[in-house]
Amino acid sequence: MPGTGDPDSLDPREGRAPQEDRTQFSALLEDSAEDLYEHAPCGYLSTLLDGQIAKINTTLLDWLGYERGDLVGRKHFSDLLTVGGRLYHETHFAPLLRMQGEISGIALELKAADGSRLPVMITSTVRTGSDGQPLLVRTTVFDARDRRAYETELLRARQEADLERDRLKLLNTTLQKTLLPPALANVPGLDVSAHYHIASVDEVGGDFYDLFPLAAGTWGLFLGDVCGKGAGAAAVTSLARYTLRAASVYDPDPAAVLANLNTVLNHEYTGTDPRFCTVVFGVLTPDPDLGGFQITLASGGHPPALLMRADGTADYLPTPGGQLIGVLPDAHIATTTVRLAPGDTLLLHTDGLTEAHTIAGGADRYGDDAFLDFARSLAPTTASATVGAVRDLLDTFGTGVDDDTAVLAVHVPRPTGEEQQ
């Protein structure tokens, strides 16, 4: 122990008269060996080789609440242990001590006289005679109550952190769900399917989609991607969703809807924290003469939609010149109109899919060309088959998908009896 009994700290060679130092030193340590043993700040215990207690210091007796006569010559060390501790002592502690001659830093619980338990740290050495034969075992016992309390506190803090993280994940998932429609509208004569892939439960992504009725038998749909992640992105996602719904009621022209969204976002977010989204907005109009639908798509800088036709061909529907929404005061919005004939499937996606790493941890990303090949291999198809195939594709990428991904597919079924699977 520092200060009290370490003769090295009072080295007589350090200048002062050696005799004077020796006197002071002896005065300090008056009958020290015995007192140090008995009242050391740790417990001392000597046991015979069979574990019988031969000697024990006052400190340890006080901790345990025993009289010396209760233990010396009467009890074994293992009698002081709990049942679990005794097992551990028999199977690990004692054999290791025999083998190595010493063992240190073992955490055990001692039973006090009143039945209470004292967490301790034990170090034991075997004392051998001049012939090398083991004579007895010397053990120091350190009070580990503070340490145990500290560990319990650590464990509790960790459990609390785990709980908090679970709560946050739940909150994120809930928030994510509120950004998506609970159910897509049921459009007569149209097969609709969608999927949202959450890349990380720790960070809310910013993909969104919806399909909903507009006036006079027409239908609106949109799919978009807000830049960034987290609460900031979620706020923009929410604003974008409701602005699109409201703007399309006021004027359903797809270019006008996106122009309105652009104005709203541009007013809201400027400077060094710009927020933008890319989005496709479409209006579906049933074609009573030819069957199927006419769809007008407006794109604000979003990856082009894929059309998988009834004849087995597939192509992107480019909308060149469209600009992302929210950062330019007068963003250009490009539109295209196509007919969705019976058997055709239109697929909208966000770039979480095409930017996914094809192998988790790899450098290669999936890409637009591979996605077009994928669509060509599916066509002709249906909405649910397409979304099912995309889900399988995302599964093969595993954790290579590092951004959220949304897909929305609409399909015009062939007249009954002609539908291909």
């Binding site: 400077g271 710009p274 800088g301």
Partner: protein
């Protein structure tokens, strides 16, 4: 998984040239935004972002470039991009930013194109 981003800034009479290398994504984009106020752009100058070493750019990366543009415009300066990799220029075409950022084949070409505004 993704590569880190490195920024090297040098000052020319035409304005700061920032060389970016690595992945420009949601993890690294804040570094670009944080670097903007330290560039000391003066009115009439041109901020050049040299993208030669950019290996990936996602929507957050684009946000950083837009933030740089907003910063330059607020300082009454202009912005130009140099050596835009094919991957990035393809994304720029999709999001329609190819008509918003003047681009040059090299940083030197960008500097050469700069004309001091007559006061």
């Amino acid at each position: 998984m993704t590569q880190h981003l490195t920024l090297h800034t040098r000052t020319t009479p035409a304005g700061a040239v920032v060389e970016l290398a690595g992945d420009l994504d949601h993890r690294t984009a804040p570094e670009v935004r944080a670097a903007l106020p330290r560039l000391g752009i003066r009115p009439g100058q041109q901020l050049v972002l040299d993208l030669t070493g950019i290996t990936f750019c996602d929507s957050s990366g684009i946000t950083a470039l837009i933030a740089a543009r907003n910063y330059a415009l607020a300082a009454e300066a202009t912005i130009a991009l140099a050596a835009v990799p094919d991957r990035v220029s393809r994304i720029f075409r999709i999001v329609g930013l190819d008509r918003v950022f003047p681009t040059h084949p090299t940083a030197q070409a960008a500097q050469d194109s700069w004309q001091p505004t007559p006061d």
